[in-house]
């Protein structure tokens, strides 16, 4: 069977000593990032991107992916122990998880989260392995018109899943796309919007944009209102859940895994939606919904399974279509390109060891997370005692060095400062940064395929509507746009994000 051969190849690659080491490094770093509030996985991966240049492609991608799903684990730890979700998708875990901790059942909550996540990660790895190849085969049939429509759909869908005003999210996308046009025009080589600055001929570096908008802007947000964190945490004991707990979490874990695997593919942060959706599903299905919010273990197991499954399946659009579902995936595109690989449908055939190795490493990474995190929980909690005054200078310094070493170019470091301030002002005005980065990464693709499709069709714009796949994708995009703009539906959308009490 193909699938088994492929997984065998993947496991063989992923189990190479060096790759396991980088996987371990990735998940440890990721957990740290998830535990420490104030640094997100996006900024971390952006800063570490330059470090991966010297590594083998497989090793670097394995490490970066590990940071991403490791952060999901770490985020749930702080959510449960001190009611401080380090990551947006862990916010829902905090509701019942922290309540359990206050009742002295922190260990059970952590174990439920870890076991649920591990199960979900295992299933999602298989989902990825089963669905990625046929999708990639289908994507090989795509022409420029289809790609253009697909990018439009991806961008629009990211609005539907973003919080806040749809109009602003649209504007952030347009701004990102515009920033993406800086540099040489692909067809004529004309330098555009470079202000005569030599460093801009190759375009703005997206690490500068990402580190500025997700790192520096975030630090400025945190410095608005400095407070010392109280690191008072009760001792965690009794990790192993009772038979009764285990019986309770089987259903939620299964349903959370299913929901998460499906929603993770959506552009724009499906893992956050998955966590919220699976929580409300469990509450609705429960015979004792009144326990939710007061320490129901189902309310921890379901969203944790869902967000971990979603974190994994969000690699599907990246690996099969070359389209990032959210900013972290956009950075992964950068990591691929740096290694000389164009992410997209060809990766499976041209780099099978890399593709399957990356997938298999996710399962290994999940296993490492369970083995590491439960016994070492005390160590992670200690990290919370690190004062922010020590932490944020480290982020700024590493951002400066990391961005500089990318091209040995001071201009990129100045760009970090500019985008940090711009991002900070826009975030303060209620604009989410994720659509901007997606627009920035996808903008050049959008332009390239728009222009190519129109050249092939001899300037006939109807090609986007007469080719069936393209038409369907555009119709879906229109649908997504309507959903995110219509006020009645928008209220519903807000409700999904509002924490139940």
């Amino acid at each position: 069977m193909d699938l088994l051969d492929n997984l065998a190849l993947g496991l063989e690659t992923a189990f190479q000593f060096e790759n396991v080491l980088y996987c371990l490094l990735g998940v440890v770093l990721g957990t740290a990032v998830g535990v420490l509030p104030g640094i997100g996985p996006t900024a971390t991966i952006a800063m570490l991107l330059p470090i991966t240049f010297g590594l083998e492609p497989v090793a670097s991608l394995i490490m970066l992916a590990g940071i991403y799903y490791g952060a999901q684990y770490g985020g749930s730890t702080t959510a449960i122990l001190i009611n401080l979700p380090g990551e947006s998708s862990a916010a829902v875990t905090a509701i019942d998880g922290h309540e359990m901790a206050r009742q002295g059942r922190a260990g059970h909550a952590l174990a439920a989260a870890a076991l649920g996540s591990f199960f979900a990660g295992t299933v999602a790895t298989v989902v990825l392995a089963v669905f990625a190849p046929p999708l990639a085969r289908a994507a090989l049939e795509f022409g420029s018109a289809e790609y253009f429509s697909l990018v439009v759909l991806g961008l629009i869908a990211s609005i539907a899943l973003a919080r806040g005003s749809a109009l602003k999210a649209l504007a952030m996308i347009a701004l990102g796309v515009l920033l993406g046009t800086v540099g040489q025009d692909i067809y004529t080589g004309t330098p555009r919007f470079t202000l005569g600055i030599r460093e801009l001929f190759g375009g703005l570096d997206f690490v500068s944009v990402a580190v500025g908008v997700f790192g520096v802007a975030e630090i400025l947000r945190n410095l608005e209102n400095e407070q010392t964190r109280s690191a008072f945490v009760q001792r965690v004991k009794n990790l192993w859940p009772s038979r009764d707990d285990l019986r309770r979490i089987v259903g939620p874990v299964l349903r959370g895994t299913g929901l998460g695997s499906a929603l993770g593919v959506l552009p724009g942060g499906g893992h956050v939606l998955a966590a919220f959706a699976s929580y409300s599903v469990e509450k609705r299905l429960s015979r004792t919904p009144e326990r939710f919010g007061h320490g129901a273990i189902e309310g921890v197991a379901a969203p944790e399974s869902a967000n971990n499954a979603a974190a994994q399946t969000s690699f599907i659009p990246l690996l099969t279509l070359g389209l990032p579902a959210h900013p972290v995936m956009a950075l992964m595109i950068g990591a691929f390109i740096v290694q000389g690989i164009t992410p997209g449908p060809n990766v499976i055939n041209e780099q099978p060891a890399l593709f399957w190795g990356l997938i298999a490493s996710m399962w290994i990474g999940n296993l490492l997370l369970v083995m590491l995190n439960l016994p070492l929980i005390g160590l992670w909690v200690k990290m919370l005692a690190i004062p922010y005054q020590w932490l944020f200078p480290a982020i700024v310094v590493f951002a400066g060095i990391g961005t500089f070493s990318l091209n040995f170019n001071s201009f990129d470091v100045y760009a970090v400062a500019v985008f940090g301030v711009l991002g900070y002002v826009l975030i303060k005005c209620g604009c989410e940064p994720a659509p901007l980065l997606l627009g920035f990464v996808l903008g050049p693709l959008l332009e390239e395929h728009l222009r190519r499709a129109l050249i092939i069709s001899r300037g006939d714009a109807s090609v986007f509507f007469t080719r069936p796949i393209s038409a369907v994708l555009l119709a879906l995009a229109v649908g997504a746009l309507v959903i995110s703009v219509l006020p009645a539906i928008r209220r519903k959308r807000e409700e999904v994000f509002v924490e139940d009490d």
Partner: protein, 153 residues
Amino acid sequence: MESRRSVPDILAGAIFAGIGLTFVVASLGYELGTPLRMGPGYFPLVVGAILVALGLGVVVKGLVAGEDITWGSVPWRSVVMIVAALIFFGFTVRRAGFLPATFVTALLTAFASSRIKPVTAVVVAAGLTGLSVLIFIVGLQLRLPLFGPWLTF
């Protein structure tokens, strides 16, 4: 409907419209081409125009039914120090060398917090510099001089 004016909305819209307009004006300076063969200016012109329209939309919405956003304080000191730190690093990393550039950058950044004491800031900066040398120069073999031409004779 009660009108709710929202200053953050108006500001955001103005930023969008302003940047969009800049790109529109700049792209008129490039060859536009035709829809069949778009020149370098065509696509940015269209997207710029869309951004201007969206920006104006956000402004109008901010005047009529703006989002309720709590603005909060602006940590001016942090903004200035962090921007200064990054510009300092970019400017001096080659000229003064990795070691002094990193140390001063870390020091400037540490002072972005209003709560930090000078002694702590120096300790943090020194520690970070040591860590950075270990990670980037020793560990990752980054080819940068510890002391640059400004400080070597």
